[in-house]
Subunit: 154 residues, 2 copies
DNA sequence: GTCTAGTTGATAATGGTTATCATTACCGGC
DNA sequence: GCCGGTAATGATAACCATTATCAACTAGAC
């Protein structure tokens, strides 16, 4: 499939996978971490630490911003979350599925909105590069820049 | 060609192109701007504003850091420079050739080093996406993540 | 030479992210 | 069920790249 509306990963599946991975790592369970996990599982696409924090506070959760950052870092270290940099100076994060399925992002240079897309041919091309470069490729990012539908109309 | 050592664009060619583009835009000539242009033309791959500033100061040039940022912004607005975000919170810049030829970057997750690579198949795949998405694509970025040769050996 | 407005550069302000540290609370052992 | 140790928390200070401010400077037109 190419460039369609991206399917959101089943929230429960990722949540369970992430919780299990953290348990395997050792360490304690905490409410702050659970809250961030829940917020991540519930989101459609990438979200910044501040956005996650605001959302949690909005629903009455008194999580500290530091714990949001710490949890995101922890998840990122374990490959449970994908970091997305759109170039505006804020890091965004989204759940990373265990199977490796993922999408990329189209960033509007006018309004800053982010849309997801996936493309098999692109993945194939990137995979082929890995076999030729003198570099051990473990991951990749693709960002398209341009105008979203709304900004083209405006 | 794919994944070879990237050829550095002839420094003089880009420099002339950029100078001419800025002249066409109007405005004054300035020593600070010329200095940043010179530094950009001389660099092999992307460099941060701070790096450019340090290099200029190192060779006795009393350019203010603000002017470096201003010049980079100006060049970026005119498409004369490409902005590269490696995810470490610092923006890097490199000359953008008028023809549109460009390369992408492989970022080492261990030491942070950046290498350039180019791949025609990748470009073709990205171009094909543009025809299918409901998004007016004007540019794109690709970043590979992994281990560079040196860090694999270490 | 003079005038004017684009540029400069030192510095303050901004804002996302990270470090600090006293307090809290999870969890195994008793 | 209670303790003790320690991982984790959260408020806040520190950090640092970037941006805004503004008086001084200067390129270029007349």
């Amino acid at each position: 499939m190419a460039a369609h509306t991206h399917d959101h990963p089943t929230p429960g599946a990722w949540s369970a996978h992430a919780t299990e991975a953290l348990a395997r790592r050792g360490g304690r369970r905490s409410t702050a971490r659970d809250a961030v996990l829940g917020a991540l599982a519930a989101q459609d696409c990438c979200a910044s630490a501040q956005e996650i924090h605001d959302r949690l506070r909005g629903q009455g959760n008194r999580v500290g911003i530091a714990s949001v950052y710490r949890t995101l870092e922890l998840l990122h270290e374990h490959g449970l979350v994908t970091r997305v940099d759109t170039g505006d100076g804020v890091a965004r994060f989204e759940p990373a599925l265990p199977g490796g399925e993922h999408h990329h992002h189209a960033v509007c240079t006018r309004c800053g909105s982010v849309e997801a897309f996936a493309d098999d041919a692109l993945e194939a091309a990137i995979h082929a590069i890995g076999d030729r470069v003198d570099f051990e490729v473990t991951g990749h990012d693709v960002a398209l820049r341009g105008r979203c539908r709304a900004c083209r109309a405006a």
